[in-house]
Symmetry: C2
Subunit: 231 residues, 2 copies
DNA sequence: AGAGTCTTGCTGGAGCTTTTACAGGCCGTA
DNA sequence: TACGGCCTGTAAAAGCTCCAGCAAGACTCT
């Protein structure tokens, strides 16, 4: 059961930093806009002007973007304490993806001007934000790692451990990804097709690497998966 | 000559922010380690502990990482005023790629403790760093955009404008990428093979989209390239 | 100028993925 | 209960990439 040690540290670190960031902001008496989104609701759209820091407090949310004309790629699947949105300290920036709630989500939005005030008043806020931005970079690097190999099998072998890390539920020495994922969902995450994912997933099941139950995937042989993903 | 307006703003913004960051740090009397690297020298290696902020002052530098066993992907090609390195404000982090000088490079290294001191003393430093981190995120998003489509042609059609944006030399209404790039170099950037790049580049040349002279690529028809890259 | 190295160009076959098409299963709703 | 919609499982054809190998051209260093 060798979970990449660095990644699991990152998950904890992120929760810790996000929580204390919100706490600090609250203690400073700075207003935040909390809102709940229902499945399918859009938090923002690609191209909108962004000028706020978003923190996902609970629920699952996805960032996606169209590519190759009619396809859709999921760039990040977020869970509690992930941050998202471009806040554009200098100049203005547009959102580079769509943000859509997958399950019911609670989102805290901190407008740019308040973030700036908080950073000026309290350097610790700056450290939290810088750390969270770096963790977001790491997530992008993980995505790139998924996309570099061309075979769907290898891409999935890279993706599944990442999902297990983030949405994993550990029991009896195996990890179950606690999400109902369709093959289509997985295909969007590795920029492949539903058919290829179906094929690969069945192969993995036949080789006893994974188990699928009601859309929930259990990783039965982490070591073999990591081996597949290529060192 | 429609260069993506947001990306060109980003290039200027980055130079501005990096320069003023270094100026601020200097004014505060904080020590930085400046060093020159020769082509091929490694600034750091994947897996090393990172605890500094690196600023590339001049030259060209690449971040790369092995994948699929024996291949090598170039994650970012950096030029003046790009920042790199994981500095791990909280906890410790390892470098997630190799950093290697392509041409002679001048690099300013600001150790983590000094960055922390500067941020505490002067909130403006924090804003600069946060802005630079966000720009790095944008660069990763661009890389992902390159990797999402599977055909080498589309990937290159995405990559070339990005390179032109960053290394472009504008003359007579056309842009020349001011770098000697071999097909192998390009292949490493789009995670493809040298043969495929050769083929696609020749096609593009035949269609009068680009021109190649001594390893330097000129984009003759920006609009058609962007069209190829898929909206 | 010459030798050696790197780069480019081209090929054919093997391997995956994509595309298209179709059938059966599951589920929620009318 | 019946219907429609979404999800899974297969299959065949077409396309592109990858691999291995080879030859000619360009460049560099001595």
């Amino acid at each position: 059961m060798d979970v990449d040690p660095s990644l699991s540290e990152y998950t904890e670190l992120q929760e810790q930093e996000s929580r204390s960031l919100l706490r600090l902001i609250e203690e400073m008496g700075i207003a935040t806009a909390d809102r709940t989104y229902r499945p399918g609701d859009a938090v923002y759209r690609q191209g909108e002007y962004g000028d706020a820091l978003y923190v996902l407090v609970s629920g699952v949310l996805k960032l996606f973007r169209p590519y190759s004309g009619s396809k859709e790629a999921t760039l990040r699947l977020l869970t509690s304490w992930d941050i998202f949105g471009h806040l554009a300290f200098a100049g203005e920036a547009r959102q580079r993806a769509y943000a859509e709630a997958v399950t019911e989500c609670r989102v805290t939005k901190i407008p740019k001007v308040f973030v700036e005030r908080a950073v000026r008043q309290e350097p610790r806020v700056a450290f939290k934000i810088m750390t969270l931005l770096e963790l977001r970079l790491v997530q992008y690097e993980e995505l790139v790692k998924c996309l570099l190999p061309r075979e769907t099998e290898v891409r999935l072998a890279n993706l599944l451990p990442i999902l297990a890390q983030k949405f994993g539920d550990r029991q009896d020495g195996v990890v179950t990804i606690d999400l109902r994922l369709t093959h289509q969902d997985l295909a969007a995450m590795v920029a492949s097709t539903r058919e290829s994912v179906t094929k690969v997933l069945n192969e993995m099941r036949n080789r006893d690497l994974i188990e699928v139950d009601a859309g929930r995937i259990t990783l039965k042989d982490w070591r073999a998966l990591v081996k597949l993903s290529g060192p």
